[in-house]
């Protein structure tokens, strides 16, 4: 009986594959490779489970595990006329997925025959950096579903180093989201101690932290969210003497400082070290935000506001 059932399943599978092939909804690994080489607009959809992805995937793929297909497909891939090649390990699950997608109205979907196993056998490149552990694949699975992040984006995040100037009203939420998103290294420079009046908005710090250095409290809070983030703390003020040296080790500088001298110092040091400067300022219910990256051709803070308000008018 059991053997009979297996046979029936196998027969159904064969029939299913033959039928799909007749419908022209399969492409070979060679054809897929060619399409990717030509850089045609193509979405390469990997529907395997996270443990399988960890062993290797095709560069440029986006990830939506089979189990999420019927539920998330339409929000994940709103363009039903996009060219999609689906792949799995051996080319069977992807056939079923392609069929499902066609039923949902996707007009140009094919399954890659023989899957990534066939791809490997043909000698094509497989990315198996195994930088993401199964736990990380789970933690960041919702990022992997986003075309704009995906595996490559997540790995870039995990390798990125961001310096946060100030762990206050702007710095705290920035740190929270960066930590949750899986940033590799977060530097925090702040010389202040937590005060009771900070707590209504500086969401990294709690009541028990009052009187402690903000850098310490921030580091603990970040590790509660994501222990993978490497946190470097600098319990000092940013000065013209230390700025360039500290900036050196980071890819991006985020300014959450609360005074003009620091903002202009962050701007100048970012300019001279060629780093993107994420600027923000808040007054009551109004705020400003911008990215200054003159190295890539844009303006800097001094282009926007040539001078800070004179020191006489602005005690800091």
């Amino acid at each position: 009986m059991k053997i009979g059932t297996l046979k029936a399943i196998r027969a159904f599978k064969d029939w299913f594959i033959i039928k799909a092939k007749r419908q022209g909804s399969e492409v070979s690994v060679e054809e897929t490779h060619q399409l990717l080489q030509k850089r045609e607009p193509l979405i390469l959809l990997d529907i395997r489970e996270k443990e399988e992805i960890a062993l290797g995937y095709i560069r440029g793929a986006v990830f939506l595990p089979q189990g999420f297909l019927s539920e998330k497909l339409e929000s994940f891939l709103p363009d039903k006329n996009a060219s999609v090649v689906v792949y799995c390990a051996g080319g069977v699950r992807s056939l079923a997925a392609a069929k499902l997608m066609k039923e949902k109205g996707y007009t140009s979907v094919s399954s890659m025959a023989k899957g990534i196993d066939g791809w490997k056998a043909a000698g094509y490149e497989v990315v198996s950096d195994s930088e993401l552990t199964p736990d990380q694949l789970s933690r960041y699975s919702r990022h992997l579903l986003l075309k704009e992040v995906g595996m490559e984006g997540q790995i870039r995040l995990l390798n990125a180093k961001v310096l946060l100037v100030g762990a206050g009203g702007l710095g705290c939420p920035a740190a929270l989201y960066l930590a949750a998103a899986g940033l590799g290294t977060l530097g925090i420079i702040d010389s202040d101690k937590v005060d009771l009046t900070n707590l209504q908005r500086q969401v990294l710090h709690g009541l028990a932290d009052v009187g402690r250095p903000k850098t310490e409290s921030a580091k603990e809070a970040i590790h509660r969210i994501n222990p993978d983030v490497k946190v470097e703390t600098y319990q000092e003020r940013l000065t013209p003497e230390n700025a360039l040296k500290i900036f050196q080790g980071y890819d991006i500088i985020i300014d959450g400082s609360d005074n003009f001298p620091t903002k202009y110092l962050v701007n100048d040091a970012s300019f001279f070290s060629g780093k993107p400067y994420i600027y923000g300022g808040v007054f009551q219910f109004e705020g400003q935000a911008s990215v200054f990256f003159p190295k890539e051709g844009g303006p800097c803070l001094r282009c926007l506001f040539p001078e800070p308000p004179p020191p006489g008018l602005v005690p800091s």
């Binding site: 005074n259 808040v282 007054f283 109004e286 506001f305």
Partner: protein, 120 residues
């Protein structure tokens, strides 16, 4: 075209007042103002709300270097500066440099309050 020339006589533009200057402008976010150029509108504004004068202009009468003025979304420095002509319904935004981020009640707010006090 006839209606247009009528409008020009009574041309109304909207001036967006930033939070740090609201106190000096009767706590208003947006002020309906009149004038054919940015210069005229600023003049009207500082005549109506004298407290704004010192905030917006320096001793030479120039717009302060840490305050930007936009007509709709364009920085007037890249059009005709204070001589930029206006049309009915234009939105003028006054955008000062803002420093807050960490403790804006402790530091930034007094900044502007001190500034305001010099007015008295």
């Amino acid at each position: 075209m006839e209606t247009k020339s009528m409008m020009e006589e009574n041309m109304e533009v909207h001036v967006r007042i930033p939070a740090p200057l609201k106190k000096l402008a009767g706590e208003q976010d947006v002020i309906k103002s009149q004038g054919k150029t940015v210069e005229e509108v600023l003049r009207w504004l500082t005549d109506t709300y004298p407290g704004l004068e010192e905030r917006l202009r320096d001793e030479k009468g120039e717009v302060r270097r840490f305050i930007n003025i936009y007509v709709n979304d364009e920085d007037i420095r890249f059009i005709q500066n204070l001589q930029t002509p206006l049309k009915e319904g234009d939105q003028i935004s006054i955008i000062p440099a803002i420093a807050g981020g960490s403790c804006f009640w402790g530091r930034v707010s007094p900044t502007f309050r001190v500034w305001g006090n010099t007015q008295k």
